[in-house]
C-alpha cells in the first residue's frame, strides 16, 4: 500500500530538482499564509462577496491586473533562469530538459497569461468609462471570462510542481507535441490551460465588441470615439476571427493525443503542417491583438501629455482597422522555410504591407507632439521609450519579411531579438503606459513618480542591453532554444552582455513593485478625478468611480468631449435630477463554472476520465442554474445615487 502511494507520488509530483523543491516550499508557505491571513482577519466573506462573485467590470479589471503582474513575475523568473544558463559557455545550471520546459512556459505565460490579461485589465478598467457607459454589454459573461482565464492560468502553472511542464515550445508543433515524442501530462497541461483561458478570451472579445458598438453615450458616433476604444474594437474583431481557430486546433491536438487520431501525424494521412498553418492563423493575429490596444493607449497618452489634439484622427482609425485585417494575411511568414516560392512571395509582400499603416501611426504620434507642450510624466516616459524601440523593431520585422533573407534569420537569435523588441517595446511598454496613466482613475491615488522613473530607465536600458546583442548573435548563427554553446563559437561575450541586460529589466520590475507598495503606504489621494488634465470621458467622473460609473449619462458633442467642456466651462455641475440606476446582481456562478473547468482540465490532463467528465458536468449544471435564475438585476434608488454623488462629488474641486 505504502509502496503504491510512494510510486504514485513520485510520478505525480515533479521531483529531483532543488529549484522545484524551493518553489514547492514557497507555494505551500504562500498559500498557508494567505489562508491564515484571511481566517485571522475574518476576510473570507469579504473575499467572496466583494471579489469572487463580483460582476463589476472595474473589480474584474483589478483582478486581471493583479493576476497578470503575478504572471509577469513568473515569466520573468523563467527568463532570468534561461539567461543565467546562457551567460557562459558549457554552463550546467539547467539541463536540456529543464531548459526546454522553461522556454516553453516562458513564451506561453508571457503571451497568454501576462500580455492578454494585462490587456483585458485595461479593457475592463477603461472602455466603459471612456464610452460613458455604466457597464459592459454582458457583465455576467465578463466574470465568466475572467474566471476561465484565471483557472486556465492556474492549471497551466500547476504543471510546474505536479505532473511536469510542457517542453515542446510555446506553439507545440507536432509531431514533437504528439504522444510519440511528448508522452505524459506536460503537453496536456498546455492544451487544457490554454483551451480554457482561450474560451474566456473569445467571450471577452465578443463582449467588448458589443459594448463598443452598442453602449456608447448618446452623441458619441464612431468617429468621435476615443482612439483607445477604437483600438479595442479592432483588437476584438481580430479576437473573434482568431480564437475559434485556436480552440479547434488545440481540440484536434487533444483528439490526436487522447484518442490516437491522426490529424497532425502523416503516418495516418494527417499532416503536421496543417497544425502549423492553423496555429499561426491564430498566432499571428494574436500578436496584433495585443499590440493594437497598445497603439490606442499611446494615442491617448501622447495627446494628453503633449496637450494637443491627436494628429490625423481619421488616418489613425483607418490604420488600426487595416492592421487588424492585414494581420490575417501574414501567417505563412512563420514558415517561409517550408513553403513554395509563389506562396512565400505572396506572404512576404502582405507581411511587409503591415508596415505601411504602422509607419503612418508613428508619424501621426510624432506630429501630435510637434507644436505641443510635452509633460514628461511616467505614462509619457513609456510612450517616448516606445518610439525608438518600435521603430527599430518594426524595421527588423520588415527585414524578416524578405522571404529569401528570412531563410537566414529564421529561428535564430535575430528573430528572438526582433519579436522581443516589438512585444516588449510595443506591447509591454504600451500596457505599462496605460497602467500608469489610468492608475489614479482606478484606485484613486497617484503612483510615486520618482520610483516610476527609476523603473522606466532600468527597463529601457536593460532592454537594449539584452536584445541588441541578440541581433548580432543571430547573424553569428546561434539557433533559438539552444540550451548551451561551446567556447569555440565566439558567442560568449554577447550572451554575457545580454544576461546582464535581462537582470537590469528584472531590477526594473522590482522597482515597479516597490513603487506600487510605496504608493499604497504613502497614499497621495487624487481628489480631482482628473489628475492629468485629460481629454476623454473617464476623467469626468470621480476616482475611483462609483459602482454605476456615471450618475448621469453624458451627452457627447465632439471628439475629446471632456476637454472641450472644460475649455468652455460647461462641465461644472448643474442641478441634476438623479434617476434610479439599473445594475446587474453579483453572482457566484462564474467562479464555480471556472472551478469546474479547472477540474475538467485537470482530469483530462492526467487522463482520469471520470474526474474530467465530472468537471464538464459541473460546468453544464452551473450554467444551467444560471439559465433558471430570474432574479439577476436590481435598481439603485435615486436617493442613494444622490447620497453617493454628494459624498464623492463633494470631495472634488
Amino acid at each position: 500500500m505504502l509502496e503504491n502511494v510512494k510510486k504514485f507520488a513520485s510520478e505525480f509530483f515533479v521531483t529531483g530538482n532543488t529549484l522545484i523543491y524551493a518553489a514547492d516550499i514557497s507555494i505551500v508557505l504562500t498559500s498557508l499564509s494567505i489562508v491564515f491571513a484571511l481566517t485571522y482577519f475574518k476576510k473570507w466573506g469579504w473575499l467572496w462577496r466583494e471579489w469572487l462573485t463580483t460582476v463589476d467590470h472595474k473589480k474584474i479589471g483589478i483582478m486581471y491586473l493583479i493576476s497578470s503582474l503575478l504572471m509577469l513575475f513568473r515569466g520573468g523568473v523563467d527568463a532570468l533562469l534561461m539567461r543565467t544558463q546562457l551567460a557562459f559557455p558549457n554552463m550546467e545550471f539547467l539541463n536540456s530538459e529543464h531548459y526546454n520546459q522553461i522556454f516553453t512556459t516562458h513564451g506561453t505565460i508571457m503571451i497568454l497569461f501576462m500580455a492578454m490579461p494585462l490587456m483585458f485589465a485595461l479593457f475592463n478598467l477603461v472602455v466603459p468609462l471612456q464610452l460613458g457607459a455604466r457597464d459592459v454589454a454582458y457583465p455576467f459573461l465578463n466574470a465568466v471570462s475572467f474566471w476561465l482565464f484565471f483557472f486556465g492560468a492556474m492549471l497551466f502553472n500547476l504543471s510546474f510542481v505536479v505532473g511536469g511542464s510542457p517542453d515542446a515550445g510555446w506553439l507545440s508543433y507536432p509531431p514533437l507535441s504528439e504522444n510519440t515524442f511528448s508522452p505524459g501530462p506536460g503537453q496536456n497541461f498546455y492544451i487544457w490551460g490554454i483551451q480554457i483561458s482561450g474560451i474566456g478570451s473569445l467571450a471577452t472579445g465578443i463582449n467588448f465588441l458589443v459594448t463598443i458598438l452598442k453602449m456608447r453615450a448618446p452623441g458619441m458616433s464612431l468617429m468621435k470615439m476615443p482612439l483607445f476604444s477604437w483600438s479595442v474594437l479592432s483588437s476584438c474583431i481580430a479576437i473573434i476571427f482568431a480564437f475559434p481557430v485556436l480552440t479547434v486546433t488545440l481540440g484536434l491536438l487533444f483528439v490526436d493525443r487522447f484518442f490516437g487520431a491522426h490529424f497532425f501525424t502523416l503516418d495516418g494521412g494527417g499532416n503536421p503542417m496543417f497544425y502549423i498553418n492553423l496555429i499561426w492563423m491564430w498566432g499571428h493575429p494574436e500578436v496584433y491583438i495585443v499590440v493594437l490596444p497598445a497603439f490606442g493607449i499611446f494615442s491617448e497618452v501622447v495627446s494628453t501629455f503633449a496637450r494637443k489634439k491627436i494628429f490625423g484622427y481619421k488616418s489613425m482609425v483607418f490604420a488600426l482597422v487595416s492592421i487588424s485585417l492585414l494581420s490575417f494575411f501574414t501567417w505563412v511568414h512563420h514558415f517561409f522555410t517550408m513553403a513554395s516560392n509563389t506562396v512565400d512571395a505572396f506572404f512576404a509582400v502582405t507581411t511587409m504591407a503591415v508596415a505601411i499603416p504602422t509607419g503612418v501611426k508613428v508619424f501621426n504620434w510624432l506630429f501630435t507632439m510637434f507644436r505641443g507642450r510635452i509633460q514628461m510624466k511616467t505614462p509619457m516616459l513609456w510612450m517616448t521609450g516606445f518610439i525608438p524601440t518600435f521603430l527599430v523593431g518594426g524595421a527588423t520585422g520588415v527585414m524578416l519579411a524578405v522571404a529569401p533573407a528570412n531563410f537566414q534569420y529564421h529561428n535564430n537569435y535575430f528573430l528572438i531579438a526582433h519579436f522581443h523588441q516589438v512585444l516588449i517595446g510595443g506591447v509591454t511598454f504600451g500596457f505599462f503606459a496605460g497602467m500608469y496613466y489610468w492608475w489614479p482613475k482606478v484606485f484613486g491615488f497617484m503612483l510615486n513618480e520618482y520610483l516610476g522613473k527609476w523603473a522606466f530607465w532600468l527597463w529601457n536600458i536593460g532592454f537594449y542591453v539584452t536584445f541588441m546583442p541578440q541581433y548580432a548573435l543571430g547573424l553569428m548563427g546561434m539557433p533559438r532554444r539552444s540550451y548551451t554553446y561551446g567556447w569555440d563559437m565566439g558567442w560568449w561575450p554577447l550572451n554575457f552582455v545580454s544576461t546582464i541586460g535581462a537582470f537590469l529589466m528584472g531590477a526594473g520590475f522590482v522597482f515597479q513593485v516597490w513603487q506600487i507598495v510605496y504608493s499604497i503606504i504613502h497614499r497621495q489621494r487624487d481628489l480631482t478625478g482628473d489628475p492629468w488634465d485629460g481629454r476623454t470621458l473617464e476623467w469626468s467622473i470621480p476616482s475611483p468611480p462609483p459602482v454605476y460609473n456615471f450618475a448621469v449619462i453624458p451627452q457627447v458633442e465632439k471628439q475629446d468631449d471632456w476637454w472641450y467642456k472644460k475649455q468652455n466651462g460647461s462641465h461644472r455641475n448643474k442641478a441634476v435630477k438623479y434617476k434610479p440606476i439599473h445594475m446587474p446582481k453579483d453572482s457566484g456562478i462564474p467562479f464555480i463554472t471556472g472551478f469546474f473547468w479547472f477540474v475538467a482540465g485537470f482530469g483530462f490532463t492526467f487522463e482520469w476520465v471520470w474526474i474530467g467528465l465530472s468537471g464538464l458536468i459541473g460546468v453544464a449544471v452551473s450554467l444551467f442554474t444560471r439559465y433558471l435564475q430570474k432574479d439577476t438585476d436590481y435598481y439603485i434608488p435615486a436617493e442613494q445615487v444622490e447620497a453617493t454623488e454628494s459624498a464623492i462629488g463633494g470631495a472634488r474641486s
Binding site: N271, K309, A353
Partner: protein, 294 residues
C-alpha cells in the same frame, strides 16, 4: 530627454559596430561563401539600407521634437493645441512607407524565385539526401553510394541539391555561410540548393527545436575541390563499414553519436524513410518535385 536619445543612439551604434566589425569569421551570415548565401547577404544589406534611410531621420526628428516642445517655463517654441490635420503631410507619410515597401517587395519577389533554381547554371549538380534524426544528421550520396553522419563533404563550385526529410520531429537544415535553411518535414522531401565557391569547413546546425538533444545536433560541411572529393569518396568506399537497414534502425533511435562513414547503404533507404512517415499520401507531390528539379 537627452539621456533617452543618447542611450538609443549609443545602443544602435554598438549594434551597428558589432555588425560591421562582423566581417570577422564569427558573423557567418555576413560572410557568405557561395552564390546562394551571397544573394541573401545582398538582400540583407539592401533591406537594412532602405530601412535605415527612413528610420534614422525619423529618430533624429523624434529626438528634436521631444527636446524642442518640452513643457518648460519660457519655452518659446510654437504651441498649436488644435492643429490636427494636414493633408499634404499625411499624404507624404502614407507615401514614404508605400514606396519603401514597394521597392523592397520587388527585390523580395525576384530573389524568392531565383533561389528556387539551381545556383550556377551549366555545371552538373550533385544530389545529397539529408535526414534529420533524433538527434543527428544522416547524409546519403545516391550517386556515390556512400553515407555519412553528422558531417557532409561536398565538391566546390558545384551546385548541390539537398533533398531534405526527417524520421523524427520537424527540423531545419542550416549552413549559414552557404545560404539559408529549409525544414525537414516527415513524409516529404524538400529541395534546398547550396553551393560553396571555396574550399573550407562550414558550420551547420539544426535550427528547429526537436527535443532533448536538439542543441547538440550540429554538423560540419566540408567543401573540397572535385578531385579531392572523388579521393574522399574512394577512401570511404574502401575503409568504412556498410549501413544496413538494421543498422539504420539502430542509428535512428534517440541519442547522440559521433561522426560516421558508411561505404554503402540500401538504395531505397531514403524512399523507405519518406514512406514510413506517411510519404505514400504524397507520392504524386514528390514525383512532381523531383521532375521539376531536374
Amino acid at each position: 530627454m537627452q539621456p533617452l536619445k543618447r542611450i538609443t543612439i549609443v545602443s544602435l551604434l554598438v549594434a551597428l559596430i558589432s555588425v560591421i566589425s562582423g566581417c570577422g569569421q564569427q558573423y557567418t551570415v555576413l560572410n557568405p561563401k557561395g552564390p546562394v548565401g551571397e544573394i541573401q547577404f545582398n538582400l540583407i544589406v539592401i533591406s537594412a539600407i532602405l530601412l535605415a534611410v527612413v528610420i534614422i531621420p525619423v529618430l533624429i526628428f523624434f529626438a528634436y521634437i521631444v527636446f524642442r516642445y518640452r513643457d518648460k517655463p519660457g519655452n518659446k517654441a510654437s504651441y498649436m493645441p488644435e492643429w490636427d490635420d494636414n493633408k499634404v503631410l499625411e499624404t507624404v507619410w502614407w507615401a514614404i512607407p508605400i514606396i519603401v515597401i514597394g521597392a523592397l517587395a520587388v527585390f523580395t519577389v525576384r530573389d524568392t524565385f531565383v533561389l528556387a533554381e539551381q545556383p550556377s547554371k551549366g555545371v552538373k549538380p550533385i544530389t545529397i539526401q539529408v535526414t534529420s534524426l533524433d538527434w543527428k544528421w544522416l547524409f546519403l550520396y545516391p550517386e556515390q553510394g556512400i553515407a555519412t553522419v553528422n558531417y557532409v563533404v561536398i565538391p566546390t563550385v558545384t551546385p548541390v541539391r539537398f533533398e531534405l526529410t526527417t524520421d523524427a520531429p520537424i527540423n531545419s537544415f542550416w549552413v549559414p555561410q552557404l545560404g539559408g535553411q529549409k525544414y525537414t518535414l516527415p513524409g516529404k522531401a524538400l529541395n534546398l540548393w547550396l553551393e560553396a565557391k571555396e574550399e573550407g569547413s562550414y558550420f551547420g546546425t539544426a535550427n528547429n527545436f526537436s527535443g532533448k538533444g536538439f542543441t547538440e545536433m550540429k554538423f560540419q560541411v566540408i567543401a573540397k575541390p572535385n578531385p579531392k572529393f572523388s579521393d574522399w569518396v574512394e577512401q570511404v568506399k574502401g575503409s568504412a563499414p556498410e549501413l544496413t537497414r538494421k543498422g539504420y534502425e539502430e542509428l535512428s533511435k534517440p541519442g547522440l553519436v559521433e561522426k560516421q562513414d558508411y561505404a554503402s547503404f540500401p538504395p531505397d533507404l531514403f524512399d523507405y524513410i519518406i514512406d514510413k512517415n506517411g510519404g505514400q499520401y504524397y507520392k504524386e507531390n514528390r514525383k512532381n518535385e523531383v521532375e521539376k528539379a531536374q
